[in-house]
Amino acid sequence: MISPEGSKSLPDRGSRFDESLFSLQAMPKIPRGMLKETQKAVALARKFNDEVVRPQALEIDRQTHADPEYLPWDLVKKANEWGFYTMFIPKLFGGQGFNMPASAYVVEELSSACVGIANVVFVHYLGVAGILASWNVSLANKIFREVVRGQKSGKPSIISLAITEPGAGTDVEENELIDRARLNCHAEKVKGGYIVNGSKIFISMGHVSEWCCLIAYRDLKKASENTVTFAVRTGTKGFTFGKHEDKMGQRACPASELIFEDCFIPDEYVLRDSSIREGFGTRPIADLIEQYIHFVVSVTRPAVGAFGTGVARGAYETALKFAGETEVGGKLLINHEWAQAMLAEMYKNVVIGRLSYTEANYANGLPGGIYNILQRKPVYYYQKYAPKFIFDYLISPLLDLEITQRIFRRLFVDSQSLEVQQRCSGWASLAKIVGTDMGVKNSQMAVELMGQAGLRHERGAEKFLRDSKLLQIYEGTNQLNRINLFNNLIGSSIPQARAFEE
């Protein structure tokens, strides 16, 4: 019970709003090169949209309805050729090393043409984030360099992330809920590795990925302290694909069921076993697992906000084009004041979505955030201009050393305070909610404004609407994200507040 005296002071307990001006805090320290680099990345995405995405997005969507088992091999090959799968892998691991916040703008650009295809490109980075946040830099280096070789050879080697289970969606994204979840993906420690049994569902790009970053549990009843993260190669004995989901939208990007039956995964493919504490400081195991989850979602949720913003923009642009060329009641739709008000609202929604994911990524770039170190000017410019052979032949071998692993864990895990973790995760949820809600809202408005034309598949607006709805669901439903926002940005400063405990 909060006393009247206590409740009066509640608003004063949280940080003041001017302490959350992440952009103002971050801007002076951001390397100037990031702007040009970001514009270069977005320009490439725009070109990809013009040459690859727009000419076939609607036809592919139609094709998936005619053939629900369609898999986007050709699109994966194209994205691989264009270098999208290595673009945001740090040079340290052989990638192109574009600054990571730029990925959100690329996501927005691609999603403005087709968010299904944008997912074909970017779900891979969900897997990358899952691997990176384990801070097993040796295994990360091995897998990421395989992705780079895949680009050179023309044989794509992309990564998916498998966490959702048939009986547990929201539960597996919150360590506070997971011990009460109906889990089934069990990892049993055996000599030389683990035996995994169970299944995962709704795994985006599962069928077409070479690697899967798999989350399983040593103890299904006490998963909060017994999480194991694996890298599993497609084709590993005991790892098969089940159902290919029949979704309402985003149909270019398959959602797969993954089945593990006595699947042996050697120790060398363990990204992180929560029971092994070496190099992970003094935090309790459950807190470390929670930090891992928050590291991943701090990156991925702003990206989903960018997906939503992209859809919002695509829907707006489709409606704008229609309004500019269609007469209603004897004059162009765009000259009706009510239509102008709708278009202004849609424009506003796009900008709000963009500002939200941008601010969340600034939060990630401040000290303690996952982007911070790579954005420090000396590190940034060294990574940008140092010859490639230095990374490939001098630094890469060092990543296998235990001391290097410890340095990375020290830098990223130990140095991140709980406050920073909460700030990044809370803002990630905020950006996700805002962007995805704007995506759905603008898609609805576009269909409304276009009337019967908006209902036709070939006009594009209805596809935006179907595609947009999924964004409010994955990476944690927007309901879960609201509670996560409360937990991290509001409840964290109120001792009496408890989330997930009603």
């Binding site: 929201t170 209603v328 009510w338 019967q452 598949h457 209805e462 609407l465 669901i473």
Partner: protein, 379 residues
């Protein structure tokens, strides 16, 4: 539905409910796969046999001679399971209503009596537009004692499959002036009609539509020349209550599925219905579905009793419930999480159907503006 307090409508409610459960529920996903899968002809044929395709048609025209209330009761029950069939019933009824408003009772009687099968009794109509807002693409030219229609008309629901199509066209006078538009009945089996492949739409997949191109096709005028707008407005006012009923059914179906799922699905060790944020979402849905029932009942009664301003009541009901249905079905998916987005469940279809139904009878924002215009004129 509260209208069923009028006991004579209870049989229609039971008929529609039983029909939906028996004929629609099991094959909802398969039926929705049209145009990539087969059309559910046998179900439509049984709907015809059950009398669902002539509810508001007078008895002397071989219809059931019921009011809008009965149609609403049926559409509500059918839509709770699969709104596609409601789209077919609605379109056919709208075309019939326009014909009746135009004084085309004898023509309608002829169609009903001569029909040899289900398709020949159906009348196609561009149900998603108001011909007064966007100019019709058809011109009618007088040729002796009849008319020849040419041009293209988009999104004709049941086009190509129904025996006849009711289409708006502008009559080209000798001086080239085109005052208003007139409805014409076209035999879809006649020469000179080209139809596109079925339009792949957002929702109501099993309520097919095509674009029709007519080249000198004979058209029988329905109503007075240039009187199309009046006929449409009259029929449209009545059929807005039917739009509200479809949305009401969709909302109730979505709420029921969400309520059932929330009692079976677990999160954090308990059924998701026992988490208060989700229960609040269900609470919102329950309120909206309950309100919808009252709104449809009120609108249908206002229409049937010809209350003062009955047309405004019906239009307001449709506009309000369309907005509510689009919101409620969005939440309906959300409660089922990832499952709600999959075609194995009914929620994603209801989400698409609600948005599609919102577009019936013309551009949604203009219908809202039109409502205010009508009020300002004291109609």
């Amino acid at each position: 539905m509260l209208t069923t307090i009028k006991s004579e409508l209870k049989p229609f409610e039971d008929l529609a409910h039983n029909f939906a459960v028996r004929e629609l529920a099991a094959n909802r996903k398969a039926n929705d796969s049209y145009p990539f899968g087969p059309f559910f002809d046998p179900v439509v044929a049984r709907a015809y046999e059950a009398g669902l395709l002539g509810i508001t048609v007078p008895e002397e025209c071989s219809g059931a001679g019921q009011g809008i209330g009965a149609l609403c009761v049926i559409l509500d029950r059918i839509s709770a399971v699969d709104a596609s069939l409601s789209g077919i019933i609605f379109t056919n009824a709208l075309a019939q209503e326009i014909m009746l408003a135009a004084g085309g009772k004898d023509t309608l009687k002829g169609i009903m009596e001569k029909a040899t099968d289900t398709r020949s009794t159906l009348i196609a109509y561009p149900a998603f537009s108001n011909p007064g807002e966007t100019q019709t693409g058809l011109d009618a030219v007088r040729a002796g004692g009849t008319f020849r229609l040419s041009g293209t008309i988009e999104y004709v629901v049941l086009g190509g499959m129904a025996g006849h199509a009711l289409v708006p066209a502008r009559i080209k006078g000798q001086d080239g002036r085109q005052d208003g538009y007139t409805f014409f009945l076209v035999d879809q089996g006649g020469k000179g009609i080209t139809k596109t492949e079925p339009i792949f739409s957002l929702g109501l997949h099993a309520c097919p539509a095509v674009d029709l191109t007519l080249a000198g096709v004979e058209g029988i005028p329905v109503g007075k020349e240039g009187d199309g707008a009046r006929c449409f407005d009259h029929a449209s006012d009545r059929m807005h209550a039917a739009v509200a009923a479809i949305q009401c059914g969709i909302m109730k179906g979505a709420f029921q599925e969400a309520l059932s799922y929330s009692q079976e699905r677990f999160q954090g060790g308990r059924e998701i219905i026992n988490w208060s944020a989700l229960r609040m979402l269900l609470g919102d849905m329950a309120v909206q579905a309950g309100i919808a029932d009252i709104v449809v009942s009120g609108a249908a009664m206002a229409v049937d009793q010809q209350d003062p301003q009955w047309g405004l009541s019906a239009r307001a009901a449709a506009l309000h419930l369309s907005e509510l249905a689009c919101k409620l079905t969005t939440d309906g998916i959300q409660i089922l999480g990832g499952n709600g987005y999959m075609k194995d469940y009914g929620q994603e279809k209801r989400f698409r159907d609600a948005k599609q139904v919102q577009a019936l009878l013309g551009l949604f924002p203009l219908r809202k503006l039109g409502l205010v215009s009508a009020m300002a004129k004291g109609q």
